[in-house]
């Protein structure tokens, strides 16, 4: 290194040091977030090591024996875990395949409402369940389907007084429907926001042009509105497809009961039950880690495919 370069470097270092000193107070302001992220995000990341150990809570991460990929092999060979994966995929894909189109249809219908005050009221009402916690929604559902609740009252009204009162929540066969419809109930109104915003962004001239070409209002939806919101639709679809291994923990725990929980475990709930309730820390961590890695891979692949097909991606 030649001398001028050296002095330049040293000078540079000096000015940097001076700038750091000048900005002491800014670093102090930033320190809260930095300390937080190190303690509550990076330290638990290091805890992933547990997945490769036979973790012993009394020995800790540093003393517990190494176990290799034992726990990952157990994921495949344990029937309860395979069942949880299957359930997760089932619940998520039904939500994705049916819930997603329903949201777009509702957004289209809301978009066609001409009375603005009416539209606003309907929207506000449809947002209500979004602001409730999942346990509040589960509580609403349990009351609604109670033996002497509204659902059975309606059933008797329609089928006659001789019909028996049934509790559909005690049968695990109904769980899929329950998960699907409660998701729709809670989030469909809120999910329309993004599509309605996209629809508002469609150039009005396109509608005029379509009208001139003899497009009916119905056909305009297919030729103008839907193509106009396609990029938004794709992005939301990618994000949801990426979350396919993430069943909603709060929802599933909220809706499970003594009769249904055996058959309705998903990955998140089994990590909780194996890990925190039964103390199988390593197995639960391995399961959670496998879920995280696979989720990321799925997101990556879906994004790639979407880019190939429609040129829209999230990165």
């Amino acid at each position: 290194m030649t001398t001028p370069e050296k002095t330049m470097k040293a000078g540079h270092a000096r000015t940097t040091w001076r700038r750091i000193k000048q900005n002491k107070l800014l670093y102090a302001l930033l320190s809260g977030a930095l300390l937080w992220v190190i303690v509550f995000e990076y330290v638990p990341m290091a805890g992933i090591v547990m997945a490769f150990q036979d973790y012993d809570i009394f020995k800790g991460v540093f003393e517990s024996p190494f176990a290799g990929l034992k726990h990952f092999e157990a994921i495949i060979s344990t029937p309860a875990l395979s069942k949880a994966i299957a359930n997760t995929l089932l619940y998520s894909s039904v939500k994705l395949l049916f819930g997603f189109p329903l949201t777009i249809i509702l957004a289209l219908l809301l978009n066609e409402l001409r009375l603005m005050w009416f539209k606003r009221i309907v929207q506000t009402i449809s947002y209500m369940p979004h602001f409730l916690s999942w346990i509040a929604v589960a509580s609403l559902a349990y009351s609604f389907f109670e033996l002497y609740g509204p659902f059975n009252d309606l059933r008797l009204l329609l089928l006659g007084e001789d019909a028996s009162r049934i509790n559909i929540l005690m049968d695990s066969d109904n769980f899929l429907g329950l998960v699907f419809f409660s998701s729709v109930f809670k989030e469909i109104g809120w999910s329309t926001i993004i599509f309605l915003a996209a629809m508002a962004g469609v150039d009005p001239q396109l509608y005029e042009a379509a009208k001139v070409d003899g497009c009916s209002r119905f056909m305009q939806v297919f030729h103008v509105t839907l193509p106009g919101i396609l990029p938004t639709v794709m992005i939301i679809f990618i994000l949801q497809a990426g979350g396919i291994l993430n069943a909603n923990f709060e929802q599933i725990i909220g809706f499970q009961n003594l009769y249904t929980q055996q058959d309705t475990e998903v990955i998140n709930t089994i990590v909780y039950k194996y890990g925190l309730q039964q103390g199988k820390f390593s197995l639960a961590t391995a399961f959670g880690l496998a879920q995280g890695v696979c989720s990321f891979l799925i997101l990556y692949v879906v994004n790639k495919l979407a880019k190939k097909i429609s040129n829209v991606g999230i990165w």
């Binding site: 700038r19 107070l25 302001l29 809260g32 977030a33 992220v37 009402i125 947002y127 002497y148």
Partner: protein
């Protein structure tokens, strides 16, 4: 504009459909409202719609005089207040510091804060961490782990960035330091975004119940939403016992109590959700904003 007959028909059906939908969204909640004001033993006959049949305040008296419910309400309000204030402070301080493009190490710090939005340790490593920090069964498990949200910081920073830099420069000439500039100049000027982010944090705190489920066993620091969970699971147990009892001895029925699990649950549900249900129509625009910003970023 000319509307055809078909369009008129469609408009009519659309309005009708929306009315039906609104009823579907509201009915379960209104039904619970009615049940909460209805005599418990009367509710057990079924047939309650959205009006109470035998009016009573006993359900609310039972809930509001219950000591663990009151404690849960106190814990919930405390965590909303402390959690929102501390979360807002950390978020805003970081947003302001990261606004300065010439701050040495800025990109490194930003990346450090960003990475955890993609990779997390997960439930079990979190539990181990909280255990070693003595957060298990502590009130502070509600505050510290959820103190910072990267996305909120980005939103805050974007807003602070719109405040003219000339204001800051003239304040600096008057001898103000960074902290004074942040709290005396930026804070008053950024009330809209402060309101928005405070509401996001507050609703998150109010509605969270899984933190209690995962990390708190002690009954001293339970929250309202967790009470709802407990009542739901316990009434399930009671229901199961009732079913079993009726199978054992069909015919002879015990004198029905006036307050039933169903009516207590309804009253608890209403009390623990009413603040949000009352307020959200007036503040929804702050939450809609969050959805929109997310869309632009993506």
């Amino acid at each position: 504009m000319r509307t055809t007959k078909g369009e008129k028909l469609f408009n009519g059906f659309n309005v009708l459909f929306m009315l039906l939908l609104s009823v579907l969204f509201l009915y379960p909640y209104l039904n619970q409202l009615a049940v909460s004001f209805n005599d418990g033993s009367d509710t057990a006959y079924g047939g309650i719609t959205i009006f109470p049949r035998v009016w009573t305040l006993e359900n609310y008296e039972a809930v509001l005089s219950n000591e663990s419910f009151l404690r849960a309400a106190f814990v919930t309000v405390s965590r909303v207040v402390i959690g929102t204030a501390s979360g807002l402070f950390v978020t805003m301080a970081a947003a302001y510091a990261l606004l300065k493009k010439d701050l040495p190490g800025r990109n490194l710090f930003l990346t450090m804060l960003l990475i955890p939005t993609f990779i997390q340790g997960g439930m079990i490593p979190n539990f181990m961490l909280f255990r070693s920090l003595d957060l298990i069964n502590s009130f502070w498990v509600y505050i510290f782990p959820s103190m910072f949200v990267f996305y909120n910081m980005l939103v805050m920073r974007a807003y602070l960035g719109t405040i003219p830099i000339s204001l800051e420069e003239s304040a600096k000439l008057d001898g103000a330091n960074s902290a004074q500039i942040l709290f005396k100049l930026y804070l008053p000027l950024s009330m809209p975004v402060v309101a928005t982010i405070s509401l996001w944090i507050a609703v998150m705190h109010w509605n969270d119940w899984t933190t209690t489920l995962l990390y708190v066993q002690s009954s001293n620091v339970q929250t309202l939403q967790f009470m709802l969970y407990k009542i739901l699971k316990e009434s399930e147990l009671m229901m199961q016992m009732a079913v079993e009892r009726s199978m054992q001895s069909s015919g002879e029925s015990a004198a029905s109590p006036r307050i039933t699990p169903t009516s207590v649950r309804a009253a608890t549900l209403i009390v623990s959700t009413l603040p949000i249900v009352m307020v959200y129509p007036f503040v929804q625009k702050h939450f809609v904003k969050g959805v929109m910003l997310g869309a632009i970023k993506e």
